[in-house]
Symmetry: C2
Subunit: 495 residues, 2 copies
């Protein structure tokens, strides 16, 4: 074991150090935070072949995928740095003093202030983009929070290399010592000690339901509970509407075969459930999708734990009553990992069996057949919260079924028309967070610069002289940011 | 007992009805929601003397105070309605489709969608502004959520009268049936059944720590946990800095005597802790404050439960080691309620005794004497989260003590200079929410139109044709709201 678990003493020291760093780091200007993030991005962008080689060895992901994930991570860091500097995320509000019916109303100015040290638990399936220097870390830095990353044991060496890059960037940009720390831990005690430490003020997590819910429970049981944003995946249902399915059976089947199997299905946005109405087009769709799946060879998964869980959950799902296997990867050798699989079941089986609602993390999907759109609506009302929901529909399909469409929207964070849920664009308009159990708080997003808001809270300055206010609230608006002044959005200075 | 507790069957029906109403209400335009809120405001504004008479009888609050609270409630409803219609709270973001290195990036558009039925638990100390048609109800309606109010048993008749006004306004503006419901309940079972009902999706609460924390625990133990915003009060510390205290001993003492005793101290922003540095000015301040307190007659409190709790907590606080009573209401008769009281203790006693950190809800405050500003800083670092923290300070006091000032800011939601914490302006810049235990989530506010965001979550539309998007996301921007389009804030239409 090259990376022993951090001791409880070490964790205590690290958390206390992060707290000390917090006092300095939160006073740093938006520009300095952004410069730090850009320095991380630059170093990560320039990181040499050794980093990719290590990541390939640890994750079994192909080089092209890892390279593009690294590029994405660099983009996250630079685009969140730009958003941090632009300052719109501070939601600055100013209500100037005035007199109302002989009462003097005080001057009130609101901005955001960081919560404190944030612990980040990275994902096994994204060693760069949702790990050490990933989205949660970038958002926390932008908010002004020191970060403690617990490296994922499945890619501990990769995580350590990225951590070293962050530490170098911190030195280069004269950040406070201990603005970042990295710990290793395979046992749950490490995670528990981090989440329960009184100096830790928020948690970001990407991974399984069991893991994310456990962190959330620990955080809520603290004497001082803290916010935990756990992104725990989902089955990302896809709904096939009749007219569309008739018009585009083959295209949809091809699109979904690719979406289900990309990266051996190891995405939290992998579509694990496809719902259609009994018809000859649906039969044809199932056949075509099965053909696509059969042509997909099995492939090594991220780590043995995930491969084992996939094999077991796949087997459990296939063995449920009324579930029929449609197709799986052809010519599978003994002991192969990540066997692509499509199953099917009638809606009645899905409605009565919660096992079929569970995520099978990997290249697996079930096609559920409804008698009609009324039964599809019943099924939607039984579904848990989801990161995404997709409609394959024509405009007429939508216009003829407004209640069904609304019900689908109501369970998801991202609502996709005629597209696949895989592929999460990094943009301000992205929402990566849905109703429980997709995430622990549907009001926040793990992707896009709005994710910064998970780690900051509003503070209102009442009656302060201009010279003592933080820059974003000063009359002259020296940062040139958008502010809501007396209910009007403006970039103008206050006279 | 004129208002029996709602039965569990009745609660089940009410929650299911609210869920049905949700499907319709959430589709209503911002304007229709605002019209509904304005209709409630108009009817409340016109409500005749009977309502005030009932409220006076139930709460023992004087007519002038209740009248101004009713006016405040009307203002909350109309100003949140205006904010709802203005639409800035939707944080609409649009990233139009484009091609990046041969990859088509889909069109992404994000808005907010309501969480679902909200249960509101009103405050005993604000029968109008933080009760039945109060801030939480107004925010939930603006967000598009049906509301179920559990009337506070201490003013059940007032609550019922306001509930009837809301129901009339709902009928007048053709809202969905069951968009609002009102239940009575003195036992904890009513609250528990409401919070645990699967159709309830969020909770707003204003009251005691014990009550707010209990609701939060129940909500988190649900199979599907839901957000609870509990505003649980605090001791609202006031820090006396040396130069300011020397310059304005008398003014500060008078200001604080009034702030501590207004409405018999029954405000969640009542300053229960004043911290200064040992000096002859501090002695003089304590003497003057004691004189002001002695001149304040005792007064009936909101209800017998609060009066009893105040008497007990006051006695407990006064009996702690090293605590000395400075003054109390003069000429107090046997059995008087709400005896105004000032005590004092050295910082060492406060630092070592958590009992002294607890809120004594009523006209009570303790003046804690520190040896120097270093000891004041130690005390700040030991304090729990607060709704507010106030500094009595000159600019030099601030400039000479940056670390201490930052530490004070770090524990509070509202940060006041040379003012008192009582008096919570209803404005977008207000923050009424602080780190735990002041509230259960410091990232939200119970006052001001930003409070709407407690009850809505982002949803991202990916790849939708313009005609099927909600109005706030359509190219033409028919609502004329501010939107962030490709990272630029604008009210322009998209070409």
């Amino acid at each position: 074991m090259p990376y022993p678990d951090a001791s409880l003493e070490a964790i205590d020291t690290i958390c206390n150090n992060a707290w000390m760093a917090f006092h300095e780091f939160r006073l740093m200007s938006l520009k300095r935070r952004a410069d730090f993030m850009r320095a991380i991005a630059r170093r990560l962008d320039n990181a040499d072949a050794a980093l990719l080689k290590t990541a390939m060895e640890e994750t079994h992901l192909p080089e092209a995928r890892l390279r593009s994930e690294k590029t994405r991570t660099v983009f996250q860091l630079t685009s969140y740095a730009a958003a941090c500097e632009r300052g719109a995320w501070l939601d600055a509000r100013i209500d100037t003093t005035h007199t109302d019916k002989n009462t003097v109303i005080p001057d009130l100015r609101k901005t955001l202030t960081p919560l404190g040290p944030v612990v980040v638990f990275g994902a096994s399936n994204f060693p760069f983009a949702y790990s050490t220097a990933g989205g949660d870390t970038a958002c926390a830095f932008a908010a002004g929070c020191p970060v403690i990353v617990k490296g994922h044991p499945a890619h501990a060496a990769t995580s350590q290399m990225v951590a070293d890059i962050i530490l170098e960037a911190a030195r280069e940009t004269n950040m406070p010592e201990h603005v970042f720390a990295h710990v290793h831990g395979s046992s749950f005690e490490v995670g528990k000690a981090l989440v329960e430490h009184p100096r830790v003020k928020a948690v970001g997590f990407t991974g399984s339901f069991a893991g994310g819910k456990q962190l959330w429970d620990w955080a809520n049981a603290r004497p001082e509970p803290i916010p935990v944003f756990s992104e725990m995946g989902s089955i990302n249902p896809v709904f096939l509407f009749p007219e569309k399915l008739k018009n585009a059976t083959k295209e949809i089947a091809e699109m979904y075969a690719a979406s289900v199997t990309t990266s051996v299905g190891q995405f939290c946005t992998n579509p694990g459930l496809i719902v259609g109405v009994e018809s000859k087009e649906l039969d044809q769709f199932i056949e075509l999708l099965g053909e696509g799946i059969a042509q997909t060879p099995p492939a090594a998964m991220l780590h043995p734990g995930i491969a084992k869980a996939y094999a077991e959950k796949r087997q459990t799902a296939l063995s449920q009553q009324s579930v029929t296997e449609v197709a799986e990867s052809r010519n599978t050798s003994e002991g192969a990992q990540g066997i692509a699989t499509i199953a099917t079941a009638p809606a009645s089986a899905f409605l009565s069996n919660p096992v079929l609602h569970q995520e099978v993390f990997g290249p697996y999907s079930i096609v559920v057949r409804c008698a009609d759109l009324t039964e599809m609506h019943l099924l939607v009302l039984k579904l848990e919260g989801q990161l995404t929901a997709s409609l394959m529909a024509t405009e007429q399909d939508i216009l003829h079924n407004p209640a069904l469409v609304e019900s689908i929207k109501n369970i998801a964070g991202r609502f996709i028309m005629n597209g696949v849920p895989t592929g999460v664009t990094v943009a301000l308009s992205m929402q990566h967070g849905g109703p429980f159990p997709a995430t622990t708080d549907s009001r926040f997003s793990a992707v896009g610069a709005d994710g910064i808001k998970r780690f900051a809270r509003p503070v209102c300055y009442q009656g302060w002289p201009d010279s003592l206010l933080p820059d974003e609230l000063k009359n002259a608006n020296p940062l040139g940011i958008w502010r809501t002044v007396n209910d009007v959005l403006t970039r103008e200075a206050i006279q």
